[in-house]
Amino acid sequence: MATRWPGATPYSPIPAAKNLPGGGTGQERERKVVSKGNQQYPPLRALQASAVLRRASDEHKKEPLASSSQQHFDSPPAGHQPEQKPQGPHPSYTGQGGQESEDYESEEQLQHRILTAALEFVPEHGWTAEAIAEGAKTLGLSVAAAGMFRSDGSELILHFVSECNSKLSELLQKEQKLVQLGEAEKKPIDEFLRDAVEARLRMLIPYIEKWPQALSILLLPRNIPSSLNLLTSMIDDIWHYAGDQSTDFNWYTRRAVLTGIYNTTELVMMQDSSPGFEDTWRFLGNRVADAMAMSSTASQVQSTGEAVVQGLMGAAVTIKNLAGLNQRR
């Protein structure tokens, strides 16, 4: 699963910036960006932050050419690069005819690294710009890097959720491989759902103190599309690996039921103070059992209804026979 969530690039790339002559044209570029109508950040601030970032990282790496920092700056094609792997903190230099052509990373990869580094400061600072700033510091970047992100820490939370979902996906995929190879038994559906939800919720444990804050931020109207998207794709993943093959309305009912189970269990976990969260897991087990019982009840009701209808039809035919209405003349 992609770690990007839709619509979450911090700012759109500057396509024309590449063609501008290097050196001292920061103003021109900024004007160009403003005219392109950047929405999500004050573009000036973002550009300056980015520039500061790069200069700091450049100093850190002791760049030989002065103009290279400008060239760095010239080509930040956020998200449009084909390369997907982060290149590491120290890109290699391969001088080609005097021009710098190093393995730069895209804006997105850089943000990914900063946010990942920021996660370890969350228990202390919460989901805030301070944590992001601390994370940037550990990467050797300037504190101003936190200016790339929104001040309420939404991106950090969304990044964390996205990472957790990817981890869960990998876990489920590994399990599925083991089952396919015959090395493990296929779990019954209620156990599978219970284990999957438990595994996903356990990833919250290191951050459990600050998680209520994260939940409230995720519920902000601005973040709802992204967080809903992440939630639905996670639930869809779990059902896919559970073996769901429905192609009718059950597709929706099953996902709705599991979403309900997940959300309620998450809320219970926030308030759980039992050792090892055993109350939460018991709650989870009960909810999953409820859901299974509900579905078997529904099928029973349906078959009972059919049987009743059959009985009534039989009674009607009997009465007609007795009354002599069924005779052929």
Binding site: G182, K186, D236, Y252, T253, M292, A298
Partner: protein, 252 residues
């Protein structure tokens, strides 16, 4: 614990359907559970094979039993997911609707002289629907929310057109099949523009189905569809409805 009795009770109750099983769970003997979990509870289905024949496990939300192993999933990387999503979703909805239309027509005209003709066309539509069900699972596409609505609307359309007589039913068939053929042609064009090699299998399926829908269209014409009173009005109205259905199913 009540849950322990649960599986045993469920296994015996639901004798109706047997689970299909794909590759991988058939012949391998059950290994010991690796993670140290307790052995299957006494009274629970001790062997997977016996459970398979005993019946489906209940599933949250009800519905068809879960297949115990994953089907051959299409690798998700590299395909244009939004486009393929839409194509499969709307085609699935279309075949589902066509099924219901023929069901409605059979309900009224099943015992008439065109009954066998309609039945044969209906069987082909059932095959189409089955194929799209498989594709939907393989590409992990969600079905349209409007399925229950198309369920009813299709049946009503089929029954309603059949009540206008055999020619009316044929006119409805002609209108719907023409709409569907055009729609499939559009999709074929889209896929060819995208990447004919990558979507070869899907293209083949859609081409074959388009040809069969065209056949149905011709069968309808053969059976005097055009002799229906108010034929053009009926045809336009039905085709308008089909266009709206296609538009909605692609998106919702």
């Amino acid at each position: 614990m009540a849950a322990a009795a649960g599986p045993a009770v469920r296994c015996s109750l639901w004798q109706r359907r047997s689970l299909r099983c794909g590759p991988g769970t058939g012949s391998a003997p059950l290994p010991a559970r690796p993670s140290g979990r307790p052995a299957p509870r006494a009274g629970a289905c001790p062997s997977r094979h016996r459970c398979l024949s005993a019946g489906p496990r209940p599933v949250p939300g009800g519905g068809a039993p879960l297949r115990l192993c994953s089907t051959q999933a299409v690798p998700q990387a590299g395909i244009n997911k939004p486009v393929i999503d839409r194509i499969i979703r709307v085609d699935h909805a279309g075949e589902f609707g066509a099924n219901r239309i023929y069901a409605g027509q059979m309900a009224v005209l099943g015992r008439s002289s065109v009954g066998p003709v309609i039945q044969q066309m209906w069987n082909q539509e059932k095959d189409h629907l089955k194929k799209f069900n498989e594709l939907m699972v393989a590409y992990r596409v969600r079905p349209t929310v409007l399925l229950p609505f198309w369920n009813v609307a299709g049946f009503v359309l089929g029954a309603g057109s059949a009540l206008l007589g055999k020619k009316g039913a044929m006119a409805c068939t002609v209108a719907v099949e023409e709409s569907i053929s055009e729609h499939y042609n559009n999709q074929i064009r889209t896929l060819i523009e995208e990447d004919p090699e990558k979507y070869k299998e899907l293209l083949q399926v859609i081409k074959q189905f388009r040809d069969e829908e065209q056949e149905h269209h011709d069968i309808g014409l053969e059976h005097d569809a055009e002799a229906t009173p108010a034929y053009s009005v009926l045809k336009t109205a039905i085709q308008l409805g089909c266009k709206a259905a296609i538009f909605l199913s692609e998106r919702i």
